[in-house]
């Protein structure tokens, strides 16, 4: 069975400082992993995805994530936070080829302080 854990429900950073949002997963297979961002009262936007190619994945808006099999982690990072990054972030693990095999994490709310 697969599972996903987002280790922090809330993260606060100052504008211009690095962002780290942590995600651990459990899977019996080689999973695909995704990060989504959701701004208030908006739908989700796909930031990046890992599908067994390069372990360091670059996404939109300067975000990237590194797949570490030994640590079963897929943490999301950004070198310098911007005010517009304030949002909810979801980590998703998928063992199959379709969304019906996917599980969303419970989300991490990122706050960016001026």
């Amino acid at each position: 069975a697969q599972s996903v854990t987002q280790l922090d429900s809330h993260v606060s950073v100052s504008e211009g400082t690095p962002v780290l949002l942590r995600c651990n997963y459990s899977s019996s297979y080689s999973p695909s992993l995704f990060w989504y961002v959701q701004h208030p009262n908006k739908g989700l936007q796909l930031l990046l995805k890992y599908t067994s190619a390069a372990t360091l994945v670059k996404g939109i808006n300067g975000f990237e994530a590194e797949f570490k099999k030994s640590e079963t982690s897929f943490h999301l990072t950004k070198p310098s936070a911007h005010m517009s990054d304030a949002a909810e972030y979801f980590c998703v693990v998928s063992e199959g080829s379709g969304p019906y095999t996917s599980i969303f994490g419970t989300g991490t709310r990122l706050k960016v302080l001026a």
Binding site: S32, F34, N41, K42, G43, L44, Q45, L46, K49, F90, V92, S94, S97, G98, P99, Y100, S102, I103, F104, G105, T106, G107
Partner: protein
Amino acid sequence: EAGVAQSPRYKIIEKRQSVAFWCNPISGHATLYWYQQILGQGPKLLIQFQNNGVVDDSQLPKDRFSAERLKGVDSTLKIQPAKLEDSAVYLCASSLEISSQPQHFGDGTRLSIL
């Protein structure tokens, strides 16, 4: 390009009433998804369509929820009768390929049950 359109944005009903949500996907997207997002949780897939056929509806509570996509374009999700626990945001998403995690989401319909 136009995004995924959903209506209404907000809906308040009393328990045991009926409600319907509408979704128009991005033009040309054959795959359409409905998700339920309860406050404080990640989205949960309810049903996935490929054109006008159902790919997966294993997590759809079929005793009260129904969905259709008759002409393979827009879709309607209905709840009848509604229960208090149905209070959530209902998100529609679409994608070009059947096997991909959806990239494009609508802004959702926030349903409150009194």
